[in-house]
């Protein structure tokens, strides 16, 4: 088992190299003089020259790359122009906010989409099946930012049920002591139920937005995978052996159907990490997505680069985890690979 993990880790290395090279190139292909961009709109010719020397833009490209990589190794992603803070610090501070939102959203989506997909496949042609297909097609057609705005309008403005979309916590509450950075966990750890409820209330709408967005691909894939598994020959054997419906559907069909569903999660994460940025803008969520968007508007390039790199590395790790999970479930991959 350790051997499999080791082998998989090896395949991650070329991917990481590719990611680093691409993010490097992304800043070096800026039209015009990159030093001007990094110095900011208010720079004098002197400060531009300083930046140019400091960030090594006057060196040949391969040398720049070496500097870039060694900076990365030291954990240096540069500084933000607008805040002056180190990008790495800001990203580290803001990451839990995004993570809490995304993970919660994914969890809710899975809890709804997977059973929905299974039921739709088992009761093919029924109301549930049609509802599932409609939800799936509609779900992929809704722009995530539009859904968010609609939810805000209905549940905050019209009904007053949800709090104002101004971030993770209402100003009346103080942020809990940072243990994990997840407000829900930290407030519980501190025994502060009031803050927990307030944080939860702020989370509901953005989480529902992300969940609506994710339900469609997951439900669709679960349904398709289940249909395929249910019509397979080994399920026919299971039925012919008189096994109970639970065994047939769950132990035989679903476990096999999980495999393509798990593979889909890679794609779902890709969409989610992107949707995260949009949702953070709608709900003024202080995560790394909004950090990048603010930096973009201010033409502040170092944070954008840091953001892209962080997200990419995160995503590579997530994919690795998915691969490993797949290997746990599918013995063919384990034993032949």
């Amino acid at each position: 088992m350790l051997q499999t993990i080791g082998r998989r880790l090896l395949t991650v290395i070329p991917t990481l190299i590719g990611v680093i090279v691409v993010t490097f190139l992304l800043t070096r292909v800026l039209p015009g003089d990159p030093a001007v961009y990094f110095a900011g709109p208010a720079a004098t010719p002197q400060s531009i020259e300083e930046i140019r020397k400091k960030l090594g833009f006057d060196r040949p490209l391969p040398e720049q790359f070496v500097y870039y990589v060694s900076d990365l190794a030291k954990g240096n992603l540069g500084n933000s122009l607008s805040t002056g803070q180190s990008v790495v610090e800001e990203v580290a501070t803001r990451l839990p906010a995004s993570a809490e939102l995304t993970l919660f959203g994914l969890f809710v989506a899975m809890v709804i989409a997977v059973p929905l997909g299974i039921l739709a496949a088992v009761k093919q042609g029924s109301i549930i099946d049609h509802a599932c297909r409609v939800i799936a097609t509609l779900g992929v057609s809704l722009p995530v930012f539009f859904t968010g705005l609609l939810l805000v309008y209905v549940f905050y403005f019209l009904l007053g049920w949800a709090p104002a979309p101004i971030g993770r916590l209402d100003i009346f509450y103080s942020t809990p002591d940072r243990v994990t950075g997840f407000y829900l966990i930290d407030s519980l750890l501190a025994g502060d139920v009031e803050t927990f409820r307030a944080a939860l209330a702020q989370l509901i709408l953005p989480v529902v937005t992300l969940a609506i967005f994710s339900i469609a691909p997951i439900a669709r894939m679960t349904r398709a995978a289940m249909l395929s598994a249910l019509s397979s020959e080994f399920v026919r054997t299971a039925r012919a052996s008189g096994l109970s419906p639970y065994r047939v559907v769950i132990t035989y069909a679903f476990r096999n159907a999980m495999l393509p569903v798990i593979t889909t999660f890679g794609m779902v994460f890709s969409f989610l990490l992107g949707a995260n940025v949009l949702v953070e803008k709608v709900f003024a969520w202080p995560g790394i997505g909004s950090y990048a968007v603010e930096a973009l508007i201010a033409s502040d390039y170092a944070p954008v680069q840091g953001f892209v790199l962080t997200m990419a590395i995160l995503y590579v790790m997530l994919n690795l985890a998915i691969d490993l999970l797949y290997g746990v479930i599918d013995p063919r991959v384990r034993l032949e690979g």
């Binding site: 020959e233 080994f234 039925r239 012919a240 052996s241 034993l335």
Partner: protein, 567 residues
């Protein structure tokens, strides 16, 4: 003396399927009984409804299917109107089924031992404490070696024959009264086939079980069944004891099936209906002159498949010398043979013996690793496969493929498919000349002209096979390689196509290299036979000598494994 009630009584059964084209009757007014301890064979070609009947008996029909009429009584239970939970109790415990394609019939990600346990626990034939013991005992009963180890195996780790044994174990674990075997040996090698059938017979006889054997293979049915039921297009045409049905078949269809089955002691013509018109087989004048000269000579041919380059690199990185040096898989291991002009040579062997790889190399679709392939005195082995399409010799060696559906481009009409070699390498120029040639070829292979403008999905299996043959002879090749050309066809269509192939060979003066696993067919069509095993030639010689008086044990083993109908 009254006869005891049959175990299974199917009365006037009709099964319908709802399809996009409307309601289709797959099974119509079928009557069938199986007594206790009896083995009944249901024989029929594709579309006869034989499998659907058994699915109806087990009530595992597709969602779109339903029992429209009739009654099914099993051990006194009204199957048609029983509740689903009552049926679940019956399935696996009182009646069970084994299927074609055993590996697909097993859950790929569940250990085989656990799968057997599932059945035992479901029908309360074991408690959680002794389920494992009993599962291992079942594996032992189906003759799987080292059952305690194999208990933990996954289906992909087992061979096809072993998978089928596991499926049998699943089916017999709860000691049912009736076993339905749906084409259990199709797709298995003939030696494995024999082993599996003997196992089934032994186990069912031991337990006094009844069996229904569903097959398209008359010989198989005759060899292993007490009674035979013949079905066609959803109806039962004839039911009789297997000894009678082969000696005095009553229904014309049964007679036709009987006649069309390749067996010992008949000629190709005997496979056809008696009213068929016989041509005078005057061989082509030119061919008579050149007969007996060597056309194809294969000398010490070797084909290696290198192991995955990546794993070798990684292996040497990690200093696993044993893997790095274990360079290749040798599919063909130094074989030598020849085909003379006008001769028909059969290349036989079980799956994995290298016969298909050899034929691909002869065809120059695949490159050899070592050895020579000489055609009409020229070394064609030296020309790489990707360049051979441009060689002047290309048109002289052609092939008829096994799967008629796969070998036709779904977007080409039959005419366009046949015209392809003519357009590329032929002499006819201009649309009219090409079309005329296509029509001529269609006529030669007995394909009605109006079918030329149809697409493959609008043609039957036999028609598609003819299109493939017309395309293969379009350039007048001297050597035709046929890779199991009739394996995918019904036996009556096979008889026609085999005769067609023989007549074309005579008329066009071709030589054949006929690759097959079916020794009976080879006996009918070939002058000489080459037997292969694990990449080597085990025996070669004239058909009469090899098949009637084989020298090698392996050939003898193959011959005895073929089920013989009692004719």
């Amino acid at each position: 003396m009254t006869e005891p009630l049959p175990l299974l009584d199917v009365h006037d059964l009709t099964v319908e399927f709802a399809t996009r084209r409307g309601i289709v009757r797959a099974v119509e007014q079928v009557n069938l009984t199986v007594a206790r301890g009896e083995t009944v064979g249901i024989v029929g070609e594709s579309g006869s409804g034989k499998s659907v009947t058994s699915y109806a008996v087990m009530r595992i029909l597709d969602r779109a299917g339903r029992i429209a009429d009739g009654a099914i009584t099993f051990s006194g239970v009204d199957v048609r109107h029983a509740s689903e939970s009552a049926m679940r109790d019956l399935r696996g415990r009182e009646m069970s089924m084994i299927f074609q394609n055993p590996r697909a019939a097993l859950n790929p990600i569940r250990k085989v031992g656990h799968q057997i346990e599932d059945v035992l626990l479901q029908h309360v034939q074991a408690a959680p404490s002794d389920a494992r013991e009993k599962a291992i005992a079942m594996l032992d009963q189906v003759r799987i070696a080292r059952p305690e180890e194999r208990y933990h195996a996954y289906p992909f780790e087992l061979s096809g024959g072993m998978c089928q044994r596991v499926v049998i174990a699943l089916a017999l674990a709860c000691r049912p009264q009736l076993l339905i075997a749906d084409e259990p040996t199709t797709g298995l090698d003939v030696t494995t086939q024999k082993a599996v059938m003997e196992l089934v017979v032994e186990l069912t006889r031991e337990r006094g079980m009844s069996t229904i054997l569903i097959t398209h293979d008359l010989g198989l049915a005759a060899a292993y069944c007490d009674r035979v039921v013949v079905m066609q297009k959803g109806r039962v045409l004839e039911t009789a004891r297997s000894t009678e049905i082969f000696k005095v078949p009553e229904h014309p269809y049964t007679r036709k099936l009987m006649r069309a089955t390749p067996r010992i002691g008949v000629t190709l013509r005997d496979l056809l209906p008696p009213d068929a018109v016989l041509p005078d087989s005057k061989p082509a004048a030119a061919a008579a002159r050149e007969a007996d000269e060597p056309l194809l000579v294969v000398d010490d041919l070797i084909k290696d498949y290198p192991r995955n380059a990546m794993s070798r690199t990684l292996a040497s990185l990690f200093r696993r010398r044993d893997i790095a040096e274990d360079a290749a898989f040798r599919a063909v291991d130094g074989i030598s043979f020849g085909v003379k002009r006008g001769e028909s040579v059969g290349l036989v062997g079980e799956s994995g013996c290298g016969k298909s790889t050899t034929s691909m190399m002869v065809m120059r679709l695949l490159d050899k690793t070592a050895g020579t392939i000489t055609f009409d005195g020229q070394d064609i082995g030296a020309v790489p496969a990707r360049d051979f399409a441009r060689s002047p010799l290309r048109g002289r060696i052609q092939m008829v493929f096994q799967d008629p559906t796969d070998s036709l481009n779904p977007r080409f009409t039959a005419a366009r498919a046949i015209a392809d070699p003519i357009l590329r390498l032929g002499t006819a120029r201009g649309a009219r000349a090409v079309r005329a040639r296509c029509e001529e070829l269609a006529h030669q292979v007995g394909l009605p002209g109006e079918l030329l403008d149809r697409f493959p999905h609008q043609l039957s299996g036999g028609q598609k096979a003819r299109v493939g043959i017309a395309r293969a002879i379009a350039l007048g090749p001297e050597l035709l390689v046929l890779d199991e050309p009739t394996a995918a066809l019904d036996v009556s269509v096979q008889a026609i196509v085999l005769n067609l192939l023989q007549d074309l060979k005579t008329a066009l003066g071709m030589s054949y290299l006929f690759v097959s696993h079916d020794l009976n067919v080879v006996r009918l069509l070939c002058d000489r036979v080459i037997v292969m095993r694990a990449g080597k030639i085990v025996e070669q010689g004239s058909t009469t000598q090899v098949l009637n008086a084989p020298q090698s044990d392996y050939t003898r083993e193959l011959l005895t494994a073929i089920p013989h109908p009692p004719i």
